[in-house]
């Protein structure tokens, strides 16, 4: 279980250099490596055989978390451990920490990055669903230096497929601060602790002045479609006070609407039940966080 031959390894110092390094290779022959926690598995099992590996570790402009007008910019090369430990990520942004705390294991969190996870967009992964749940915007730069911004929904096309071109780099993920008081949460279930999500649920809500749900975003992880919104639940939550009954109703709707697959970890009915039970727990803490309650 060793990687197939790699012809070239480069470690550019800037995004421009990194993009330039793709030149001379056909699409997909040159690959960017971020934390490598997924790509290395694929290379070692020889499911992918890049001729050239472009290591993004030295590009400082891709790292770190900063804020502007309340929005958070998370550099694509920001490691899970940095997100898990960033105490600014509360309220509407708390789901990021919920997820980052439980991705893989300590060693993976020390190495894996949020950008890598979103660009790999594995079918059972936490970060894509959380970024989608929080209404994230993906900032990309192309070989000609031009930049564009894509919503998480448009970016995360299908498992392993994203809107990123092979010679395009994800710079950062921007999570805008919504109007009003917001709260979010994320939780997943796997057979063993912190396993890849058999089902993961991210809920982000905002409250109006009467503590009623003004906006709601719900994203699911672990279903065969990959990260996607659960609009049924969103519609059911808006306008409610986030009480147990309303939440239960919303996630019954989500469970019934879900295109859940059965596998060795959970049959269809159990997956739907996980959407129900996880959703209720997650939505409850999202509302509590929005209302500013201590957990």
């Amino acid at each position: 279980m060793f990687p197939a031959n790699i012809e070239q390894y480069v470690r550019p110092q800037s995004v421009a250099e990194a993009l330039a390094a793709c030149a001379g290779y056909d699409a997909g022959e040159a690959m960017f490596i971020a934390g490598g926690q997924s790509l290395m598995q694929a290379m070692k099992s020889r499911m992918t055989r890049p001729r050239c590996l472009i290591d993004l570790q030295a590009i400082s402009e891709l790292k770190g978390i900063c804020t502007d007008e309340g929005a958070f910019h998370i550099g694509a090369m920001t490691r899970y451990v940095s997100i898990a430990n960033d105490e600014r990520l509360t309220g509407y942004f708390a789901a990021l920490r919920d997820a980052a705390h439980h991705v893989g294991d300590r060693q993976v969190r020390n190495r894996g990055t949020i950008g890598g996870s979103c660009c790999w967009n594995y079918v059972a992964s936490c970060m894509p669903a959380v970024v989608m749940g929080l209404g994230g915007e993906m900032k990309l730069q192309a070989a000609d230096g031009s930049q564009r911004s894509v919503t998480a929904e448009d970016f995360l096309i299908a498992p392993l497929e994203t809107a990123r071109a092979d010679d395009e780099i994800l710079l950062a993920i921007r999570i805008p601060q919504p109007a009003g008081r917001g709260g979010s949460a994320y939780k997943k279930w796997g057979l063993v602790k912190d396993a890849l999500p058999v089902v993961g649920v991210c809920v982000a809500v905002t409250l109006d002045s009467n503590d009623r749900c003004a906006t709601a975003r719900v994203a699911l992880a672990g279903l065969s479609a990959g990260a996607h919104r659960a609009t049924a639940a969103e519609q059911a939550l808006v306008g409610t006070a986030g009480d147990a009954a309303a939440i239960a109703k919303a996630f019954d709707a989500a469970a019934n609407a879900a295109d859940a697959q059965g596998d060795k970890w959970a049959d269809v009915a159990y997956r739907q039940n996980l959407i129900r039970t996880l959703g209720q727990a997650v939505a409850t803490s999202a509302f509590a966080r929005a209302a500013g309650h201590r957990e």
Binding site: G28, A124, L160
Partner: protein
């Protein structure tokens, strides 16, 4: 895995059937198809470069047409190999119904993926297969609508009707076999993380 679908194609049945038997047209329609060639009569070989996101594989396969009943139905049986990555076995049944000016195309693909591919495959396979089917028809429909190909198709159609079952030289199998095999291959890749 088993994949069942019904698609309405806005073209008469004979033309659809013929188009499904036109190697040139199929090669254009099958995502990543690098070529279809006929070996000994009724035995066909083809290569498809499958790609999903960062992962890719090259499939070589062969397939045979069975129970040919133009322009209504036929069955395709075959298998393909993706080198050390594994193999796929496919059985596809196709049935065309007239539907006004158009055609209802029903197909059932039963495919088994083995080797590393199969081990890494899983529940996601059906979904990816459907997606590929979608891609195929997105490319297929405009091609038959294109009058440049239409005449050739009509000719193909008569050829098919003339052909005795089992001895057909029509590489119809190409679409179904490769859609299934490739879908499964891709789906399997997808399961890597």
């Amino acid at each position: 895995m088993e994949l069942k679908q019904q698609i309405r194609i806005n073209a008469p049945r004979a033309r659809v059937f013929a188009a499904l038997n036109d190697p040139v047209l199929l090669q254009q329609a099958i995502p990543g198809c690098e070529g279809l060639t006929e070996g000994e009569p009724g035995h066909f070989e083809a290569t498809v470069a499958a790609k999903v996101g960062p992962l890719s594989a090259r499939f070589k396969g062969n397939m045979q047409v069975q129970d040919l009943n133009p322009p209504v139905s036929y069955t395709l049986v075959g298998e393909g190999k993706a080198g050390p990555a594994g193999h796929a076995k496919v059985r596809a049944s196709v049935m065309l119904e007239e539907d006004g000016s158009g055609t209802l195309l029903n197909y059932v693909v039963k495919a088994d993926v083995g080797g590393k591919l199969g081990q890494l495959g899983g529940a996601i396979i059906d979904r990816t297969a459907q997606k590929l089917a979608g891609d195929f028809f997105a490319r297929f429909e405009p091609l038959i609508a294109d009058p440049a190909t239409a005449t050739a198709d009509e000719a193909g159609a008569t050829a098919v009707e003339a052909a005795a079952p089992g001895t057909t030289r029509q590489p119809t199998w190409g679409v179904w076999y490769f859609m299934a095999a490739v879908s499964l291959a891709l789906a399997a890749w997808v399961l890597l993380h």
